[in-house]
């Protein structure tokens, strides 16, 4: 079976000259959940934006065997669902239901069918009871769940979540880990939260200065990079 994602020597620089990606090689197999670790500014978000053609750099990106480029963007965006770091930007429609139905409507479903799909997705994340609410009034954890429902409603084969635990309290983080573990799709999780990564991911890659510096199990990578916060004992 071909890999779900295959990235070769990806490079990207922003208009202001910042080199954000500097030769990234990456692959994702079916059924995997991979953690993307690394410092702020190491290029993780920029990398994610390349996976569905929101940005296009030098090198090649293939998703489900399809080259990601301007012409194929529409097809690729059905295969891969991006959950952005800031839920407030992701939930742009006036009500939760309208927001979750946004993707299905764009895929050409009839309004009634789209509403049905949206409700199913909301049930899947346990948020069906807030369907009529305005996203602004939800808690951070609820917003994140609704954002995930909005992606699930488009029925993608791969999920990419950018720092999903940022605004969540510990119970919210546990609940999210539980939710993600129950989803069958292959996943990429960008995170700084090592316990969360350990609980959810089968593999980790470590970004540094726009490149993947190390790959391995979450344990190996975090140990090697000294990436876990441990209070130093007084001598």
């Amino acid at each position: 079976m071909p890999p779900l994602i295959l990235v070769n020597q990806l490079r990207y620089r922003y208009d202001d000259g910042t080199v954000a990606l500097n030769g990234v090689d990456f692959r994702l197999e079916a059924g995997e959940t991979v953690a993307l670790l690394g410092e702020n500014g190491s290029g993780k978000t920029t990398f994610a934006l390349h996976l569905n053609g929101l940005l296009t750099g030098d090198g090649s990106v293939e998703v489900c065997g399809i080259a990601v480029n301007a012409r194929n963007a529409a097809i690729v965006r059905r295969k891969i669902g991006l959950v952005f770091q800031d839920s407030e930007s992701q939930l742009f429609m006036p009500t939760v239901l309208e927001d979750v139905a946004f993707g299905p409507l764009n895929q050409g479903l009839s309004p009634s069918k789209a509403a049905e799909v949206a409700l199913t997705a909301l049930e899947q994340v346990g948020m069906a009871d807030v369907a009529g609410k305005a996203p602004y009034h939800l808690s951070a954890g609820q917003k994140k769940r609704v954002a995930i429902a909005g992606i699930l409603a488009t029925n993608p084969e791969i999920l990419v979540l950018d720092e999903p635990t940022t605004f969540l309290d510990p119970p919210g983080q546990r609940a999210l880990a539980g939710l993600l573990a129950g989803l069958p799709q292959a996943k990429i999780l960008i995170t700084h939260d090592i316990p969360f990564a350990r609980a959810t991911c089968t593999r980790a890659v470590f970004f540094r200065r726009g490149m993947i510096q190390q790959e391995g199990s979450v344990e190996e990578v975090t140990a090697r990079q000294g990436w876990e916060f441990r209070p130093r004992r007084a001598e």
Binding site: R77, L82, F84, E88, S89, N106, I151
Partner: protein
């Protein structure tokens, strides 16, 4: 907060809430025209229209006191001009300004607190207002509170930076600090708009919005508009004829 209350009010389930937004818009315009074009017997007309609005508030099960108080937001502006008219020897005009502007504001409030804003905008679109403009208004409303919250933080930061210098020299420093805060707010808003657009594209945005549901203009709605607008006109003719 102001808008949160309004948002909650607008999601009630009364008969008035259930009317098609177009029906409420048309009735509102009728009301405003009947009130706005009147010149005679304003006291009686005002009393009659006020009674109608009270009945509307009551039937929509909105809290009377807070609703009446909120419509009073127009009064400070009006009071200035009313005061000027009074001093200039035309107290009747001053009173008319107060009455007309207050009742108009109350009527608008009654409509927006029985219709969620996105639905109201949708109704306006279906009566021919440019969709692009209404989508901009919808996004504005969606992000109004998000950006306002950011502005609150910036205000505190700007105050903290400018507060160390006193007097007129301090004024200039504070002015610069405020300008810096606004510039940061602008840049963040711009970046947020970019983020939103990316989120839209990620879910297959084709360049136009497809609505999830369309309000249905039914018989009850036609009856509602016809009955109310005719009643308003008859009331005014009656008052002007009898008085």
């Amino acid at each position: 907060m102001h808008h949160v209350t309004l948002d909650q009010w607008s999601r009630g389930g009364s008969a008035l809430h259930r009317r098609d937004p177009r029906a409420k818009i048309a009735t509102l315009i009728g009301f405003l025209v009947v009130l706005g074009t009147a010149h005679r017997d304003l006291a009686w007309l005002g009393a009659a229209l006020f009674a109608i609005l009270l009945a509307g508030l009551w039937s929509a099960r909105l809290p009377l006191g807070p609703a009446l108080a909120r419509a009073g937001a127009v009064l400070p502006f009006t009071a200035v001009f009313a005061g000027i008219s009074w001093l200039a020897g035309d107290p009747a005009r001053g009173a008319a300004l107060v009455m007309k502007s207050y009742l108009s504001a109350l009527a608008v409030l009654l409509v927006v607190s029985t219709t969620p804003l996105p639905l109201l905008l949708r109704g306006m679109e279906m009566t021919g207002a440019p969709r692009f403009l209404l989508m901009v208004a919808q996004f504005l409303y969606r992000y109004l509170f998000v950006i306002s919250e950011e502005a609150q933080h910036m205000r505190k930061a700007a105050a903290a930076r400018g507060a160390t210098v006193q007097g007129m020299a301090g004024n200039s420093a504070r002015f610069k600090a405020a300008a810096g805060a606004l510039a940061v707010l602008f840049a963040r808003s711009y970046a947020r708009a970019e983020d939103i657009h990316r989120a839209m594209l990620s879910r297959g945005f084709p360049g136009y919005f497809r609505p999830l549901s369309a309000p249905q203009f039914g018989r009850a709605d036609s009856l509602f508009v016809t009955f109310l607008v005719i009643s308003l006109i008859v009331i005014r003719i009656f008052i002007e004829k009898v008085a």
